[in-house]
Symmetry: C2
Subunit: 444 residues, 2 copies
């Protein structure tokens, strides 16, 4: 298949508006799953759509033979919401190419990182007719909402998904000339606090000063999350946190991208966070409490002198080994229940969660993967952790007994989850090459 | 004119979506002003639309004659925004009648309170052919955005608007059987704080814990407004606050509506505010710092693990004699400029403002007005303050040398500024009767 044809396949994949969190997008997820199935069938793999209570899972396999190593390749076809839409330079589901960059929601997270493996297997088959190992593709549609149905699916299909190792490209490189393999991921726990005050919006003149304002309660809750050193103040939050190893702290000081470059990437003039830890230590190996959304009262143009009836705070917690997300949500719930604001009721709602993950970064299979990456990219490859969460990695470890090879193809400035998400086309094509190398290396 | 015809005129008035803060509603304000002008012309008054940089002012007068008292009747035809629209039981600009109540945006604030005076003058003319005093109606379209163009208009048209006293119905009664005349109003000062962090929304996994989150900054700012006794913490905020008189504290303890009834009206199980003051003292005679809107990050269904690039806090301050709104905004600006959050920039934007107002509640004209109200409503009438702001009252005092008779026709549960705003039809018709009585009384 020509590079042009591979790129055109990528564009087709990106045009599906597969936003998993908002139910009005459901038909686009269905369409995307059907498209994937057809793609796998065309390559000569056996492909099946597995229904779930929400968005379907696509599984594709070659003919599995005894005596060969088994490789599971995991990815997801769902994407994050696109709002605020007005901050996109181009419509998020009409991919736009500019130089080495392709802009679209999902271009990096995760369509542009799972597709190189699909195209890599296709290219290998075109050249060799037969794959050197038993391959299973597992592509889900619920990663951005915490994969609620993948875990039960894996539990019920251990035989189908049986493998020696899992290959996942859903992390990122350290920089354009600094590929990386990730050996640990933060977990996640999310929740929402609704603050209900008066039975209706009040006039801030008529009642202001006499009644608790839910917007102020939202602010108080948000402000009480951290102390002055930016330590999380929720009791027992740090109980199970595993300390950083000295070699990790030393290793990350040597990364070619340091705080100055990070500041440029994110567009700030200062970094900030928990006292006593460097930027990488904070985002890779320390847990967080983050406000993902705070809202109450008038948000439009001009002013409205209202005392709103309700407000909300949406929180997420990034977790590190050995924190347990459900136990963390218990602690958060206890903390919220202890907050008292006269005339306001707090409603606590648990959201999705996923455990943190860590594996041995010095195992033989990790070392051979690292060699393949160095060969394809021609650059020294680093061993890093990752601040984001891929909860299913922990599920693979628990249910299939398999560690994951987390080989990121996206760049740090790919704007995953933000407007103008993008992917390097060079890395996309390197990924296709890498996949073919790995098929040979992992078969040994 | 029959009651049915008066009601039908009210319905026509309410159907104009005259939301002054949002520029997309401008044509509806124009239409409403033209409708008012036609209404005045039909009554035999001279009526003129005066252009302003934003929404027009309508002025109507009878033939002014020397040796008669002059009365200015003020009101506004603009209304508050309607959002959240989903909380309205009926469309806000399609008036709905249920028993004694009429539901629509503007039904109480202020269309249903200025119109009784228009219809009262019309009824008086129908009966007597001639008014006993020189009347000027002044109806503006910018009250809900702080009357930015009314003050310059009054300054430029002192001769046109010359009067002995001003009559305004834009306050409320204490309860259905407790009319009230208001002798003091709180002032207002509004502002907006924009918090700008990273150049784009960040992934809360990738960068969370490493970068200041503007939503958290919004929360911190909101939480720092007050201390634990709910005193405003902005330096110099209380410098010019006039202490409450003992007779006021005593008088308000006797009001037939007390904290229990207020709690029922607003739908809370506890009131809350500045320590050391009762509910009425807090909302009528103490200044406030209120969050009218707080917003940052994802507000939709489900979760989005984002670290937002920006957030905002919209504030309003209710002010009491002798606080000066511009001086208060100076203090707020100084306070905001002193707040430091690494990696975030704060932008401070002043909004509209209006001075607080107070007059002598025991003057002869106040006493004769009180007598008219008691006669029409048949109930003891109270002397109260009001927590809301009508900045133009202070302008009338300064520019025309005239005090205002603030005779509220709305009930405390009229839901001004909130969904399901409503007006008592009984009070609407009593208002028409009251206006006619006042024309005779004030002519003396």
């Amino acid at each position: 298949m020509s590079k042009e044809a591979q790129l055109s396949t990528y564009l087709e994949f990106l045009r599906f508006a597969s936003v998993s969190t908002d139910s009005s997008f459901t038909p686009h997820l269905r369409g995307c799953a059907e498209w994937l199935k057809a793609r796998f069938l065309k390559m000569g793999l056996k492909a099946t759509i597995h229904e779930t209570p929400r968005h379907p899972i696509v599984v594709a396999q070659n003919e599995h033979k005894a005596g060969r190593k088994s490789l599971l390749i995991y990815g997801h076809y769902d994407v994050q919401p696109v709002d605020p839409l007005n901050l996109w330079d181009h419509p998020p589901f009409e991919p736009h190419i500019d130089g080495d960059k392709i802009y679209a929601r999902g271009s990096a997270d995760n369509k542009g990182q799972i597709l190189p493996h699909i195209l890599g297997v296709e290219a290998y088959l075109a050249q060799h007719k037969e794959l050197p190992l038993n391959i299973t593709f597992l592509v889900e549609g619920e990663e951005e909402i915490g994969s609620p149905n993948l875990k039960p699916f894996v539990e019920k299909n251990r035989d189908l998904l049986k493998c020696d190792v899992v290959l996942v490209s859903d992390t990122s490189m350290v920089g354009p000339e600094a590929p990386a393999i990730t050996y640990a991921l933060r977990g996640i726990a999310t929740c929402e606090i609704k603050i209900k005050g008066p039975s209706h919006d009040l006039h801030s003149g008529v009642n202001g000063g006499g009644v608790t304002n839910p917007a102020w309660v939202a602010a108080r809750i948000g402000a009480q999350l951290h102390d002055e050193n930016f330590h999380v103040q929720i009791p027992h939050f740090y109980d199970d946190v595993k300390a950083l190893a000295d070699w990790e702290r030393e290793e990350w000081k040597k990364l070619p991208v340091q705080e100055k470059e990070v500041m440029e990437q994110v567009g700030v003039d200062a970094l900030y966070g928990e006292k006593g830890f460097s930027y990488y230590e904070r985002v890779w190996a320390r847990p967080t409490a983050e406000i993902n959304g705070i809202g109450g009262g008038y948000q439009g143009e001009g002013s409205k002198t209202v005392l709103p009836k309700e407000a909300q705070v949406k929180l997420s917690f990034r977790l590190v080994p050995d924190q347990n997300p459900e136990r963390i949500l218990d602690h958060v719930e206890t903390w919220v229940k202890g907050l008292k604001f006269p005339g306001c009721k707090l409603e606590f709602k648990r959201g999705h969660s996923g455990k943190p993950y860590i594996c041995n970064p010095k195992s033989p299979i990790m070392e051979s993967t690292l060699a393949c990456v160095e060969e394809v990219f021609g650059d020294k490859t680093f061993l890093i952790r990752e601040g984001g969460s891929i909860p299913v990695i922990q599920t693979f470890k628990e249910q299939l007994g398999a560690d994951s090879l987390l080989v990121g193809l996206a760049l740090p400035d790919c704007l995953a989850h933000a407007p103008n998400e993008n992917m390097s086309l060079r890395n996309f094509f390197k990924g296709i090459e890498l996949c073919q190398k790995l098929l040979t290396a992992l078969a040994k």
